[in-house]
Amino acid sequence: MTRIELTVDGAKVSDDVEPRLLLVQYLRERLGKTGTVIGCDTASCGACTVHLDGRSVKSCNVLAVQADGAEITTIEGLAADGEASGADGQLHPVQEAFHECHALQCGFCTPGMIMQTADLLAENPHPTEDEIRQGLEGNLCRCTGYHNIVRAVQYAANGTSATPGTGAAAQPAAGSGTIDGGAA
């Protein structure tokens, strides 16, 4: 067992952990931070993304002991008011954007996708669409086709929607009987 001390979502914690314990399992099983989920165990899907000292990491690819002394932020602590965000509290702008733009379906990739987006925008506040698509390549989504996720990142970057939530206005108008977002 190894003693670790770290800050998670603003709270100081210390624990004795097995050296092989993964950070994601430490967060979930010991701290009850089940908002961070596991999709692949091989650092491929990005569902477990959290921030370690302000940068996104895949927490299935970090040992808990490696996080000793670090500051960890999870999806549950992302909003300004931390713990309160889960209730009807304030959302982080990226959470708000995903919500507004229908950027989630099953929601399993969403915590990681939001954490990665927050990191991406901290690094590059006004990314092009191509930079967004490249910047999210470590996070898989199997529901949305990424279409509205890209819209959500743009929305979060601009503080407003480049296109409505359906991602529709970028599309050509069509004839009657067609429901095309802005077109009808």
Binding site: T34, C40, S44, F108, T166, T178
Partner: protein, 769 residues
């Protein structure tokens, strides 16, 4: 009342803040972890399983083999198929005498800690005498299977059709034919399979979190297996990280986990890792098609004939022959086909079992048929769109019942004017600009091409139950047998109730598939939730609204027809200022003074909707690709889908279903495959090896939903939209690649991996022999 289409889904807030109710979030003090020991061998006789070393590991609560389990039935097929006996092909929950694929469960460990369970599982010693594996369905056809008591490898054949096919080919001016293989895919939901099963010491009941798709059916099968009444199990609603048809079918591990909770009388959690998911969650798609079509000189199809082999894997899974039935039954797609035959042979091999993955059968049959249509266009000297338009039924020819049945029900083309849909689709996307742009790019030496696919979809199958009630505080509750598999069922069913009761959807609490709330439920599959469950909710809500109006009429001394229920109140249209809240009406509806003989006290109604036949909407897929001919890499640069949705309940969700489906379909068209080596060992063992589309691989996806022809078979007019985006993607991408490479021959297989594309280029450039 029309509900605002742009409100965010009811599910979104909790999911965006990390409060999704996935089964792994359930916290229990007595939690233990289950780990499955799997066969590392594709085929063999199971000589013995030695658990002694594993059982001695501190923290292990038990190690179990088939000898410990009840002598219960194998995992049954949910949907029988007349004329085919699946019994010899069903899987026992743990291997007994034989192992038939890598990943088959042979034992399991339960331990206090998940890490310890995994350590101990590695210490279980499994002795197997290996047999040669069978890995090719066509070659296996005609043989018998020693490890399945000597039965034929061919489980059965779905054979459907009508008309004089042979005569039409004899008379044909032009015959086109091709052979096509479709790869072995899986849905790869982001959340792995798993269950958390609690044991309630007070009631001796088992509480199950994490079931998806068909919880009532799964409950009943598990109860039979344990030898307890159905009600001993309580399936609880959970958020689920995607299903796409494969998650939530009953698997061996479900039986093992519930059995372990019952045996050990404590909470058991089973969560597979991604490698196990790749080895032992349903595979899909792998078929070989041999198809031909007969045409007149004018390009009118006179016959279509397909024979296909479905590599169904080691065992018949719960869906029985559904994939084969949909492949065969819908092979003709939207076209006017005077003589038609499609046969699909189900053949067992030594791979993971195949199940229903989003658009089962149609991803494959659309690819085979639509590639054939492009080949026909080349041979007939017509454009791809023209050969399709000449063979699509017009509004005067529909509705039309094809002289055949699908799942025992008539196949009624109820989607209106298919010719008109495609004509409108071509104009909507500006198809002539696509072909022109591709032509210009090719004249500059780039391998750019465009392809289209005209599809027939289907949606809505079976029955669903709903109970709608209003409590005395005015709260509306919907209980329904459908499940959330991440598609937004909660929101769409809230809308179905809200628009009738005149309340905002946010005011409706939807209880999905909690087996304690209903006696029976259907579940979520076949793009049926909006069609079937939505209708059941709509009908129950109408009864509640009418009862509220009758009760209000008695209080207001008005005629019931004059009472309007809106915004949570009822009022007479003649005295709109006197408003009665729904909660007060719920109270009054149970009060002796307002209750009439024969009426049920309170504002509550239940409804069952049984879809008389599926709805068959048309759609068109359009793809533009660019091929890097040096390395064979295909990039989809533009994509559009048109679809006749009947009526949209929530536009953002409907579009999301299509765009997500297209992404999965592009994955199946270009990357996704689950190959096995010559020993029957799967080559794909992690998410890294199963290449799914990333954000950078995809273009924006245009979605055009048409609401021209409301479905006649349900009062909402809805047609279902879950599978429209994936069904034609393999076909459209394949046709675009053929165009980009200007091939005269057809492409031989999906996915169009770099190797396949390079081979097609080489064959194109090879001197004619």
């Amino acid at each position: 009342m029309t509900v605002d289409q742009e409100f965010s889904r009811l599910e979104d807030h909790r999911l965006a803040v990390g409060r999704g109710r996935f089964h792994e979030s359930v916290r229990r003090a007595d939690l233990a972890h289950l780990r499955v020991v799997r066969s590392a061998v594709a085929h063999g006789r199971l000589d013995g399983v030695d658990v002694a070393e594993a059982a001695a590991v501190p923290g292990v609560l038990g190690v179990f083999t088939a000898a410990d389990l009840p002598d219960g039935p194998p995992i049954p097929a949910r949907q029988p198929s007349p004329g085919i006996d699946f019994t010899p092909y069903l899987q026992p929950p743990l291997a007994r005498e034989w192992v038939r694929h890598v990943g088959e469960p042979v034992a399991f460990v339960v331990a206090e800690d998940a890490y310890v369970a995994e350590d101990a599982a590695r210490l279980v010693d499994v002795a197997i005498s290996e047999l040669p594996p069978v890995l090719d369905a066509r070659r296996a056809d005609g043989t018998t299977v020693e490890s399945l008591a000597g039965v034929p490898a061919r489980v059965g054949t779905i054979d459907t059709g009508y008309g004089d096919v042979a005569g039409a080919f004899d008379q044909a001016a032009t015959v086109v034919e091709l052979e096509l293989d479709t790869g072995r895919h899986s849905a790869m939901p982001l959340e792995n399979r798993g269950l958390t099963v609690g044991f309630d010491h007070d009631t001796e009941r088992l509480v199950v979190w994490g079931a998806a798709k068909v919880p009532f059916w799964n409950r009943n099968v598990i109860a039979r297996y344990l030898g307890v009444p159905d009600d001993r199990l309580h399936m609880r609603e959970s958020d689920v990280g995607g299903s796409f048809g494969i998650r939530g079918e009953l698997y061996a591990e479900d039986l093992l986990t519930v059995w372990a909770a019952s045996r050990l009388r404590r909470t058991i959690r089973w969560v597979e890792d991604r490698e196990e998911h790749l080895l032992a969650a349903n595979h899909a798609r792998q078929q070989h098609h041999r198809v031909r079509a007969a045409f007149t000189p004018e390009g009118r199809m006179t016959a279509l004939d397909d024979e296909a082999w479905l590599d169904t894997g080691a065992y018949i899974r719960t869906h029985g022959a559904v994939v084969a039935a949909l492949t065969a039954g819908m092979f003709a797609g939207p076209y006017r086909v005077p003589a038609f035959r499609s046969q699909v042979h189900l053949v067992v091999t030594n791979k993971m079992g195949v199940g229903t993955y989003r658009a089962p059968g149609r991803f494959q049959n659309n690819a085979a048929r639509e590639h054939l249509m492009d080949l026909a266009a080349s041979r007939l000297g017509l454009s791809p769109e023209e050969v399709r338009l000449r063979n699509l039924p017009t509004g005067e020819e529909t509705p039309d019942a094809r002289p055949m049945r699908i799942f025992g029900a008539p196949m009624l083309l109820d989607g209106g004017d298919h010719h008109g849909h495609v004509t409108k689709a071509l104009a909507t996307v500006g198809w002539d600009t696509w072909t022109a742009r591709a032509g210009r790019a090719r004249s500059e030496g780039r391998a750019v091409g465009v392809g289209m696919a005209a599809i027939l979809e289907k949606a809505g199958l079976g029955h669903e139950n709903a109970v709608v009630s209003v409590d005395t505080s005015g709260g509306v509750r919907v209980a329904v047998g459908s499940t959330s598999v991440g598609q937004g069922a909660e929101t769409v069913l809230a809308i179905a109730a809200a628009e009738v009761l005149g309340v905002p959807p946010q005011a409706v609490r939807v209880v999905l598939s909690d087996t304690d709330t209903l006696h029976d439920g259907g579940g979520t599959f076949a793009s049926r939730t909006t069609v079937v469950a939505g209708t059941a909710v709509h009908q129950a809500a109408e009864q509640v609204r009418d009862r509220a109006a009758r009760t209000a009429a008695r209080i207001l001394q008005a005629e019931p027809e004059d009472v309007v229920v809106r915004d949570g109140f009822a009022a007479s249209r003649h005295a709109p200022k006197r408003q009665l809240p729904l909660g007060a009406l719920a109270q009054a509806a149970a009060a002796p003074g307002f209750l009439r003989p024969g009426e049920e006290p309170g504002l509550i109604a239940r409804s069952t909707f049984s879809a008389p036949t599926m709805t068959y909407p048309p759609g068109v897929h359009f793809a533009e690709v660019e091929v890097d001919t040096d390395i064979g890499e295909v990039r989809v640069t533009r994509y559009a889908v048109t679809y006749e949705i009947g009526r949209t309940m929530h536009e953002g969700m409907a579009r999301g279903q299509v765009t997500g489906g297209v992404a999965q379909g592009i994955g199946g068209a270009l990357y996704e495959d689950l190959p096995y080596d010559a020993d029957g060992v799967p080559l794909v063992r992690s998410q890294r090896d199963y290449r799914v589309p990333l954000a950078r691989d995809l273009p924006d996806i245009e979605v055009h939903l048409f609401e021209d022809v409301p479905a006649p078979g349900n009062p909402l007019g809805v047609r279902g939209v879950g599978e429209a985006g994936i069904a034609g993607a393999g076909a459209a991408v394949m046709n675009a690649v053929r165009d980009a490479l200007q091939l005269t021959a057809p492409l031989p297989r999906l996915p169009l991996t770099q190797a396949t594309v390079l081979r097609a280029i080489r064959d194109r450039d090879a001197p004619a022999r």
